[in-house]
Amino acid sequence: MLRRRIIPCLDVAAGRVVKGTRFVDLVDEGDPPELAARYADEGADELVFLDITAAPENRGTLLEIVERTARRAFIPLTVGGGVRTVADMRAALRAGADKVSLNTAAVAEPDLVARCARRFGRQAVVVAIDARRVEPGAAPGGEPARWEVLVRGGREVTGLDALAWAVRAAELGAGELLVTSIDRDGTQSGYDTELLRSITSRVSVPVIASGGAAGPSDFVAAVRDGGADAVLAASIFHRRIHAIADVKRALLAAGIPVRATAGVAA
């Protein structure tokens, strides 16, 4: 049976792992390959590297980090941030990435998703969606919840409906969706399971939940209530608030299958 995955995320700026709250107020969290190796040892099922500056001049630094990591952590690596062309994707794969995540460029040019999928296979294409809840009007009876897509690291509103974009991205060739709640990111208030469920009930590709983890029970909720196939977190792992094994044990206790790794008997 397919295991639900736990994925530490390494946000990288200027060659260091950083973490902010709602994408700002960055704090230095360490050396990327070092942290990556630690997580691999501690039972991470995959790793995600995001260049949060998404600046072309940082590309080389990020790829070098990926290459150094690929030499010592033999688990899947996803790379994102500033990937704009098929050539960018190819460079990331050649450096040792297994998957590449597209965000701003995919919204600007949806055909990029299709081209990357045709060239490298859809399993290598992750579309990352940064979604923010649109507060419904005070209308009685309550409209259904809506989320809009933001790009450029949460700095730019697109007006695009997150659910519609998720469906479209999967149709275009995304093999996986990385769904981040900007409202929850870095706030440790739990994943937006309503957002997750709205997307997982509409697509058949795997969905990675992101944004808001505080403790193991949030991971359980992302899978059980949100329908997520994988759950991503950053701060709580970087700061050793919770170990990956704690999270996996909580999932197991809730009857959710996980891969047996250090300290976890599946």
Binding site: R3, A37, R71, F74, G175
Partner: protein
């Protein structure tokens, strides 16, 4: 798993890793090097000349891979390699290429193992991405030291389905994702795995180490009179 948790490295088998242009070769190169192989990336037939074992990795669709292999002049040498009984490991797409054809894009593939590459039927999510249990149908040196049902990493939507009288005989392991599919095959000198051992942590490294030892034993057993791959022989499987 990182290097520290992995099995003991083993000396110097010369392994050609075939490059058909579809991306990440770093992982497989690093993982094989880690278990003691001497890796050379093969972009043309000459790169197979000195090799003792061949690994064909890869993800994605069959048609572009076949086109690139053909353009590189590698299809016939690989078929000869297999026909000569030399050690071959196909990973993911490298396994799927062994079958007759792929439903993904209709491409005709090596035709070494009877059967087709088909979409995973009944899968709750596609692509099938993540760690899943590999359940053995038989014992094989490839899985030595790994518990039956070990979790290994998959990323694919299609899988080869062996057909005909040999179907059961070539099925080495199966995995469940909606339905059962064949996740490892073996036929003499030819091994294929649908999962990615190079991305499966310590368990994957152990499996690759097993492959290197198995290939070394096979090569030693074949003796010194073996004819070189470049020098004739019939192309094609049996």
């Amino acid at each position: 798993m990182t290097a520290a948790a992995a099995p003991e490295p083993r000396a110097g088998l010369r392994v050609a890793v075939v490059d058909h242009g579809a991306g990440n070769l770093v992982s497989i190169e690093q993982a094989l090097t880690f278990v003691g192989a001497e890796v050379r990336i093969a972009t043309g037939p000459d790169d197979l000349a000195a090799a003792e074992a061949v690994v064909v990795p890869g993800v994605g669709a069959a048609a572009p891979a076949m086109r690139r292999l053909s353009r590189a002049g590698l299809v016939d040498p690989l078929l000869r390699w297999i026909a000569l009984g030399r050690p071959y490991l196909g990973i993911c797409l490298g396994l799927q290429l062994l079958f007759d054809a792929s439903d993904e894009d209709g491409a005709a593939t090596f035709g070494v193992i009877p059967g087709r590459t088909e979409l995973l039927a009944g899968a709750p999510t596609l692509p099938h991405i993540g760690w899943n249990q590999v359940e053995r149908r038989r014992e094989h040196a490839l899985f030595s030291g790994l518990a039956d049902g070990t979790d290994l990493y998959f990323v694919h939507s299609y899988a080869g389905r062996p057909r005909g009288v040999s179907a059961e005989a070539v099925t080495l392991a199966e995995t469940e994702h909606g339905g059962r599919f064949v996740s490892a095959i073996d036929r003499g000198n030819v091994l294929g795995v649908q999962f990615h051992p190079e991305r499966s942590g310590g368990a994957g490294l152990r499996l690759l180490g097993n492959f290197v030892r198995w290939a070394a034993a096979l090569t030693a057993g074949a003796g010194a009179e073996r004819s070189p791959v470049g020098a004739g022989g019939t192309a094609g499987g049996d």
